[in-house]
Symmetry: C2
Subunit: 380 residues, 2 copies
């Protein structure tokens, strides 16, 4: 259930392993990937307290080159995969101190990240504001075009024999304590010995799922802009640039197509997906502070999407306490990055009934009511 | 030639007087009116040195109630005509001094305009920023929805028997020193004893028009935003609010439909109609400074259009030195306001060969090469 990138990669990998697979979604290839910038930022997205997630992020980042090559080949489509690297910059002294700490933390974990002075940052990216005080160069944090990724996954699924039911899933069918299929909005009953709930921010809303296994995901709204860099001039930026401006995380992701993605707000407003005057204003203000030259660029698109947030910002992967029901949701900010590892992990779980080592900290059971299972911090 | 509001009103009024009338335009009802906010701001748009234009603006404003009623009736459509008035406010001491002078200037000309303190402004419009230092209340400056105006004019024209050629006019046909028709993009030759060039900012580009009568109009780009006021709450604003923020004229026009129009940039960039990051940023920044509550509103549309600017910011109306060719262009910021008087004046010129008194200062001949004709300042 769910034809976003997570549901699709799960279906593709499952079909490749010989499982008869169907995807239920009114618009496969849609979802949050339509809005996402597509940063593959295992290193620059590192947050304190999320070291467990770091291991999964790194595992997925390592898989990306082979995954992207295989998928592009299977779908016959370009994914906009680009290894141009990322530059995380500081725009004031506080930021600089914070980035310095992040750098030390990254090195503790053996991650490749180079400290640059403000001048060195501007040598790499001459359009950066004069006020930039320093930054971290992370050549290993790449990017992909999430819309192309989603479209390629749809094609790859079709070619691998995945059946698409282009309709909304209304209710999980549970018989004698076991998930055995879904009922669609057209009242069609689909039967399946295993059901994967991969409906992104909607995953917590499906009828028929017993309360004790309903995933605790919530929508976290993100507003994103798309600007157009003129093709007749040198690109405004050569790699992803990120910063924290006035406490708001900001990124600018330049694509080879000339598109410049600017994001993202982070708002807890339920299911609201309105693009607001304030959201657009803050993104433009902060982006202008970081790269003043953006003002001349055409603003071609404004969009809002819903990240599937989870209580610990990490995904819920694998079997639940309800036999037959598996989860692949709660990827929050990291859905695009985690697509390769999610596909592999879910296919493994579907064929063997077990989660591979790398995914064990992300079992849905960690949020189950009652005594919490022991949670081991993964070494990275 | 030209099916924007100026060409349409001319055609409608001409057809009403019994003339066989045709409009040549690939998309009648389009043009700058699609972007315009629709302020009918004869008083608050008063600029020093434009007293002559003021007389025409006031003449058109006086005609608006009857014109709007007649057009709404003829087309069977609502025009969004609203007499809610306008409040021009000052956001700093310089502005306040400037508005005070404008107020004195308005009173010199016998215009109705009331000075309000900052507190009185906020009593009228509680969502105004606390920093507002005072303002001018002008209840006579109304508004209309220009898209509805344009659509109603198309319908009224059709009902009055105007023929529409939905194709671009390519060239004016001149035979023995007289305009006798146009050739369209489809190479169709249309014959007419009188041709009205009413192509907005494009009016100076038509092939075949002799250089000495080609109107000196240029495109002046304006970027405009549309926000949505929630229907379940009190409207954010009750009347049009205008100000000059950081030297940029800004207006917020609340419609009864819940739409809030925010404009406008003024850019001399040729035919460019890109919506830019900088344009949207500045409008949102300035609007936010004036009415902080806009940040929560959905941003539903961003658009740029081209005003037809003329050397003295006033329109070119009536016969040219080329027999058979008349102009109705160069309306710059006042096209919507000047629609009623333009229709009347042009129909008069088409049927009598002469301009009525009110339009004489706006003859195209004032820009003719050679000795300038005497130009009399109109008393108002």
């Amino acid at each position: 259930m769910g034809g976003g990138i997570i549901g699709l990669v799960t279906a593709w990998r499952a079909a490749q392993r010989g499982l008869v697979t169907a995807v239920v979604d009114p618009a496969p290839g849609g979802g949050a990937a339509r809005v996402a910038a597509g940063m593959l930022a295992a290193v620059t997205e590192l947050h304190y307290g999320e070291q467990t997630l770091l291991a999964l992020n790194l595992a997925s980042a390592r898989r990306y080159p082979a995954f992207a090559a295989e998928l592009a080949d299977a779908a016959g489509q370009d994914l906009g995969y680009r290894r141009a690297g990322t530059l995380a910059v500081a725009v004031d002294a506080d930021d600089r101190a914070h980035l310095r700490e992040l750098h030390a933390f990254q090195r503790q974990h053996g991650l490749e990240s180079e400290w640059l002075s403000g001048r060195e940052c501007r040598r790499l990216e001459p359009m950066l504001a004069p006020g930039v005080r320093g930054g971290l160069r992370v050549d290993g944090d790449h990017q992909i075009d999430p819309r192309r990724l989603a479209a390629a996954l749809v094609t790859a699924c079709e070619r691998a024999g995945v059946v698409f039911h282009r309709v909304r899933a209304e209710r999980l069918t549970v018989v004698r304590g076991r998930a055995v299929g879904v009922v669609t909005a057209g009242s069609t009953a689909l039967e399946a010995p295993r059901v994967v709930l991969a409906a992104g921010s909607l995953s917590g809303t499906l009828a028929g799922v017993p309360a004790e296994v309903l995933p605790p995901v919530r929508p976290v709204k993100g507003q994103v802009l798309r600007l157009a860099m003129p093709s007749d001039r040198a690109p405004l930026l050569h790699r992803t640039v990120r910063a924290v401006v006035r406490g708001n995380p900001l990124y600018l992701v330049p694509r080879e197509s000339g598109e410049l993605v600017v994001g993202a707000t982070s708002e807890e407003l339920g299911w609201d997906t309105a693009v607001t005057a304030g959201g657009v204003y803050e993104l433009l203000r902060d982006a202008h502070e970081l790269v003043p030259g953006i003002t001349e660029l055409p603003l071609t698109e404004t969009l809002a999407g819903l990240r599937p947030g989870s209580p610990d910002n990490a995904p819920l992967l694998g079997p639940t306490a309800l036999p037959g029901l598996l989860l692949a949701t709660g990827h929050f900010r990291n859905g695009v990055l985690l697509t390769p590892v999610t596909g592999d992990v879910m296919a493994h779980a579907l064929t063997t009934g077990e989660l591979p080592e790398v995914a064990r900290p992300f079992t849905p059971g960690r949020f189950a009511p009652g005594p919490a299972p022991a949670r081991t911090e993964q070494p990275v």
